[in-house]
């Protein structure tokens, strides 16, 4: 059995995917924490004295992020005020349980916790949304709503930064997905360690260069409690494919993860490529690349009994929204038989 690469004399407990080094428990903790510290320092991620909300799901990434940020904040005197922000999507048997883990984090790490629910923000729980839309596109709703909910929460708490637990594997996966979708706008910004959603509260990813394997090993050896149940609704199939591909590649050579991130970072988007410009949603004033943001479109679909509105091409959505508005101004009264009415009494579905 190999010894620790640092020649400290201890028995190694893990092989690092990033470097191939074999490290003992203590040297691993130090390397893991120091790398995150260097990432934070090099990118000048936080202004001293700032307030940081940690997006906390109770899962491995956000639990490790909260633990390490607290530790580094004390060790290196970042002088940050840390708090936890959780979103309750309203998924019975999943989020209600994981929120108990977040409450444990709150007590263990002595950080204030704010929980915002989809029900309060949007009037719908995910359970209710799935009852409308079924289990095919539900992850679209959840993803769009969660992102916006976190931003709204950050605003409400008046924080200076929102830190998320995205790790190196997540980012490599997102690069792959954006390539597979041909989504250049997202491809060019998905590797950034700091992104500004236009509201002045930067989102930061301190675990950007941290491998998933090491996060799980760190949580295990530090005996951190985290929540690891699969969401009760079907997992996002598209991300699933990218994830399986990536895990297979990682098995052949773990440095592929870093190479994909680097490719994403260094990539220069052709100046002639059509990149949507960011503007504000005319309804909710949230940052959007369209006149009406995705969350508002999804919400309109739900509230008008047309839950599939917003799933699919944005040009189609634009046309439907316009038709919808025209109809409302014409004050058509639905008799339940009229094939052109978009209300849920209509026999003929407009979108297929």
């Amino acid at each position: 059995m190999p010894f620790c690469s640092t020649n400290c004399g201890n028995k190694a407990i893990l092989k690092r995917p990033k470097t191939g080094d074999t490290l003992c428990k203590e040297c691993f903790f130090e390397a893991f924490e120091n790398e995150i510290h260097f990432t934070i320092e090099r990118a000048k991620l936080f202004r001293p004295g700032a307030t940081v909300a940690i997006a906390a799901s109770g899962g491995k990434d956000s639990t490790v992020l909260a633990y390490v940020l607290k530790l580094l904040n004390e060790k290196y005197k970042y002088n940050l005020k840390l708090l936890l922000l959780s979103i309750d999507e309203g998924i019975t048997g999943y989020r209600d349980d994981s929120l108990d883990t977040v409450k444990q984090n709150r007590d263990d790490y002595e950080m204030p916790l704010k929980i915002l629910s989809y029900k309060d923000l949007y009037g719908w729980t995910m359970d209710e949304i799935v009852a409308e839309i079924g289990r095919k596109n539900n992850c679209t709703f959840c993803g769009v709503f969660r992102r916006q909910a976190l931003d709204r929460g950050a605003h409400l708490l008046k924080v200076d930064y929102l830190a998320t637990g995205h790790n190196a594997d997540d980012i490599a996966e997102t690069v792959l997905m954006n390539i597979l979708r041909g989504d250049l706008a997202r491809l060019s910004r998905c590797t950034a360690i700091t992104t500004d959603s236009g509201d002045g509260i930067p989102r930061v990813k301190p675990l950007k260069y941290t491998f998933e394997k090491e996060i799980v090993m760190y949580a295990y050896f530090r005996k951190l409690i985290y929540f690891s149940t699969e969401c009760v609704f079907a997992p996002n199939a598209y991300r699933g494919h990218a994830r399986i591909l990536l895990k297979d590649l990682e098995k052949i050579d773990p440095s592929i993860i870093m190479n994909i991130i680097q490719s994403g970072e260094d990539l220069k988007v052709n100046e002639n490529a059509k990149i949507p410009t960011l503007t504000r949603c005319t309804r909710c004033n949230y940052v959007s690349s369209q006149d009406v943001c995705k969350a508002c479109i999804l919400l309109e679909g739900l509230n008008k009994g047309l839950p599939r509105l917003g799933i699919g091409k944005s040009s189609k959505v634009k046309r439907l929204l316009q038709e919808n508005e025209e109809k409302e101004t014409n004050r058509l009264v639905c008799n339940g038989k009229d094939n052109t009415c978009i209300c849920k009494n209509s026999k003929v579905p407009i979108i297929k």
């Binding site: 407990i13 893990l14 092989k15 799980v216 090993m217 690891s228 149940t229 699969e230 994830r243």
Partner: protein, 96 residues
Amino acid sequence: MKITVEFGGGAELLFDNKKHYDVELPENTEWTLGRLLFWLKDNLLKERPELFLQDNSVRPGILVLINDTDWELMDTVKYEIQPNDSILFISTLHGG
């Protein structure tokens, strides 16, 4: 031969949602970790074997620890299991 087998990080969901098993392996053969994987599949696994095994090893994304040491330091599937070993499988694929 007595060993313990443990599951975590969501891997337990495939094994009747139980995290700890005391296992008695038949003594008539040499036990490599690779052989154990198939024994687990045939004897303890309750659902979706494709989420546990892939190409004679664990599915990428499942970490294996032998007596609290990364199996990548112990010859992975070729490791020869010793009495009272503790084998832990942690899924990295769940949660969030």
